[in-house]
C-alpha cells in the first residue's frame, strides 16, 4: 500500500517533454493528425513572430513545407524544439534559420519537421505579414544576412 502522495497537488508541474506531445498531435501517433496552437518563445523569428505570439501549426502531412515557410522541428543535435524558416530544400532535408538569427541550423531531416506555421496571433489579432508571398523576399534577406544586420542596427538605434 502506498502512502497518499496526492495531498500536495493532484496536478504536477509541466516537467515532461512538450516535444513528444507536439509530435504526437501533429503526426497522428495517437489520434488523427491535429493542428496545434502554442505560444512562441524567444526572439529568433522577430519581427515576424515575436515572443508571446500564439501560433497555429498544421501537420506536414496536410501541407508539406516549402521554401519560405516557417516550420516547427526538433533539432537533431540539441533536441530543442525550434520554429524557424525554411531557406532551402535538398531532397528530404531542409535548411532552416531564424529570421533574426545570425547563422542557420544546418540541414534538418524531413522526419524531424513536425508542422508548418499557418497562423500567428498577437494580442488576439491575426498577423499575416511573413507568411504570404513576402516570405520569398524574407528568405533572400535572411540568406544574405541583410535582415539580421538591419535588425541589429535598428536595435542599436532604439
Amino acid at each position: 500500500m502506498k502512502s497518499n502522495p496526492w495531498r500536495s497537488s493532484w496536478f504536477s508541474g509541466f516537467a515532461s517533454q512538450p516535444n513528444v506531445l507536439l509530435g504526437d498531435l501533429l503526426s497522428g501517433a495517437r489520434t488523427a493528425p491535429l493542428p496545434v496552437r502554442l505560444t512562441a518563445r524567444g526572439i529568433s523569428m522577430a519581427p515576424f513572430i515575436r515572443d508571446g505570439d500564439v501560433i497555429t501549426l498544421r501537420p506536414c502531412r496536410d501541407c508539406p513545407p516549402r521554401t519560405g515557410d516557417v516550420v516547427a522541428f526538433v533539432h537533431p543535435v540539441s533536441e530543442q524544439l525550434l520554429i524557424h524558416r525554411v531557406l532551402a530544400m535538398n531532397g528530404c532535408s531542409f535548411m532552416t534559420q531564424g529570421d533574426n538569427a545570425p547563422v542557420n541550423d544546418g540541414m534538418i531531416p524531413e522526419e524531424r519537421v513536425l508542422g508548418r506555421v499557418v497562423a500567428v496571433e498577437r494580442n488576439g489579432t491575426r498577423v499575416r505579414f511573413g507568411l504570404g508571398v513576402e516570405r520569398f523576399l524574407i528568405v533572400v534577406l535572411v540568406r544574405s544576412k541583410l535582415l539580421h544586420l538591419l535588425l541589429s542596427r535598428l536595435h542599436e538605434c532604439a
Binding site: 497518499n4 493532484w10 516537467a15 506531445l21 498531435l25 496552437r37
Partner: protein, 101 residues
C-alpha cells in the same frame, strides 16, 4: 458535481499521453490541440484518471484509492471530491445525471 452517485465520464475532446508516470492531457478546441492548456496529473491523479475511463462512480473511486493508498475513507472522499471538481472546472470530465430506476 451534484450527486455522488453520478457516473463520471471524460470529455470527448482530449488527447492524453502517459509519460514517466504522469498523465498529460491536451484539450482540443475547434479541432486544434491547445498546447498552452496542458494539464499534467501526478501518479495519484493518473490513477483516478484511469478509473474515470472505466465509467466509474465517486464511491468506487474512493474505495479503489483506499485499497491502493494508505488513507482513510473520509480523507480520500474529501480529496477526491476536490479533485473531481477541479477536473470538471477545467472541462476535462463531466457528470452524467442519475438514471431513473
Amino acid at each position: 458535481m451534484n450527486s455522488e452517485s453520478e457516473e463520471i465520464v471524460k470529455s470527448d475532446d482530449l488527447v492524453t499521453r502517459r509519460i514517466a508516470g504522469e498523465t498529460l492531457i491536451v484539450p482540443v478546441r475547434k479541432g486544434v490541440g491547445d498546447l498552452d492548456s496542458i494539464f499534467t496529473l501526478n501518479e495519484a491523479g493518473s490513477f483516478i484518471w484511469d478509473l474515470i475511463g472505466q465509467g466509474i462512480r465517486f464511491d468506487q473511486i474512493v474505495e479503489s484509492l483506499c485499497r491502493e493508498y494508505e488513507v482513510t475513507v473520509e480523507d480520500a472522499a474529501k480529496d477526491v471530491k476536490d479533485f473531481l471538481e477541479s477536473l470538471e472546472l477545467a472541462g476535462l470530465i463531466r457528470f452524467l445525471p442519475d438514471s431513473p430506476d
